[in-house]
Assembly symmetry: C2
Homo-oligomer: 339 residues x 2
Amino acid sequence: MSEKLSGCTYKLSNTPCISTSACVGGKMEQQGPMHDCFDYTCEDDYFGMETYEQAESLMQRKAIELALDKNQMQNDSIDFMLGGDLLNQCIGTTYGVRDLSIPFLGIYGACSTMAEGLLLSSLLVDNGVGSNVIAVTSSHFCTAERQYRFPLDYGGQRTPTSQWTATASGALVVSAKGEAPYVRAVTIGKIVDMGVTDANNMGAAMAPAACETLAQFFRDTGLAPESFDHIVTGDLGLVGSRIVCDLLMREGFDIRPNHRDCGTMIFDTESQDVHAGGSGCGCAASMLCGHFVPKLRSGEIKNILFAATGALMSPTINQQGESIPSIAHAVWLSHDSGK
Amino acid sequence: MSEKLSGCTYKLSNTPCISTSACVGGKMEQQGPMHDCFDYTCEDDYFGMETYEQAESLMQRKAIELALDKNQMQNDSIDFMLGGDLLNQCIGTTYGVRDLSIPFLGIYGACSTMAEGLLLSSLLVDNGVGSNVIAVTSSHFCTAERQYRFPLDYGGQRTPTSQWTATASGALVVSAKGEAPYVRAVTIGKIVDMGVTDANNMGAAMAPAACETLAQFFRDTGLAPESFDHIVTGDLGLVGSRIVCDLLMREGFDIRPNHRDCGTMIFDTESQDVHAGGSGCGCAASMLCGHFVPKLRSGEIKNILFAATGALMSPTINQQGESIPSIAHAVWLSHDSGK
């Protein structure tokens, strides 16, 4: 049974593991510094489909199939799946997985979706609800741009603080039995809203949520930032990364020496014209599934604290003048089962 | 520990209960046949706010506060909450709960959201992850119309098969200890898509998903439809209700004598001009929280099988010609703990 520590951190006692994972990316991701971590990339943003939305769905399906193939798993060995994405009504997921015939639970955490799916599936598997559970998510630059900002053809100027939505998907299977990486503890985040209203500065809006959840994790577990090879935030980008480090310093935690941010990893922010870095559910998901999980499995990395962040707004409510509530969930992944 | 039966049905062994619930409604709901079941109704669709979206958020917050008040519970007695709604990026929920300082997990199941939240919180509480967990959802006629169909001022004609989105919210607390109703078993649904493309006939699109999940529950548990006072579907309306009964007959299950549908309960389909009945996350949620839960608590009803259904599409993908994938999750609620 998972043990609740003070706050909302749960220590997992049966050490569920990530038994397999895979990720898929687009052209920009293929050209970026992390190209080696993708199992499949496509130069065509349509991925051979007729619309961008269909392309995003295809990416999720492909990520799941690749992850299952790696472990020679069949669909019927999966108890159920948790998935969601940035698109209205999470259609990237629902149309991507509808033919798989796997029991499905939809989740929504914006760019924190992979952390939420991993956290929930780990809590369930740790307590015997499911032996193999999939967590999946995605984002696509073209679907996100037209939904959240402007039609691509409009050619709108992007601000220096804006981030580039990654065209990527990540899928993983949390299993009751298997090899590293093990899920050791999770922290369920609270919604934090510090009043930021600029939808082109998501990093600033989300950094306080990352600070809140990370500080909660450190206090609840008694672990220090230096216990981890990396403290990995999802998609804060250049602006938000600086803010989260500053905010955590004020709380007495210095994460600067081992902080990594998926938004600044996935693209070369100097040469790829992505302004403050990458974003989107698929950014943190692909960096987790394609980069950190394999290194944790091999033992090249021993421990990471993965905290993906999400901005829980919509264009409608933002245009009504509302600020941007954000959230972050944290998951401790380890090469060592702790048993 | 929850016991997995064949299929994706889990029998709960520690019988978590719904310790408190409350629901909020609008003017049409107040004028309807179920007006007595609402804890709070407002004649003004704005609920005193400036926009419909803010009104929907207020409804969720009010439903939660009313539910907690009934049991003299404070926010800090809640371990975490699960919530979502129909609005893009689930803003009805995220803006409604952002100030509560309760750890939050976003879910998305369209109109099945209350069943999904109840199912997940029951599985978690049954296994010791949380002692008190909130599930909450809402819908609002005016926010849904402008998002899914037309601006209200356009005055578009509605088809006879269309349903009227309920302006309502329901919140409940699943607790490890407490009185009836107890959660005895749950079935996680699969996505079903039979090719219906008419977004004005959601009942027809969702009925096959309800059939799939209910038949799965009956087969997995060995229970017959007559074991329940009511088989309660969420929001199939007049059209979908007829279809689900027909489909289940073919599977060998006759639910006609004790079938109730929240979409045909919440409004008077003869006099209220709602065409095929009510819909929206708040419809099934308010009928569950305000009607069935109190009757299960008092013992007036002994057992219900609650299966809310959701259509997992968006206007964008529907306009691209895609059909409507749907889902249903089932929860067995009982006056008897079974211990």
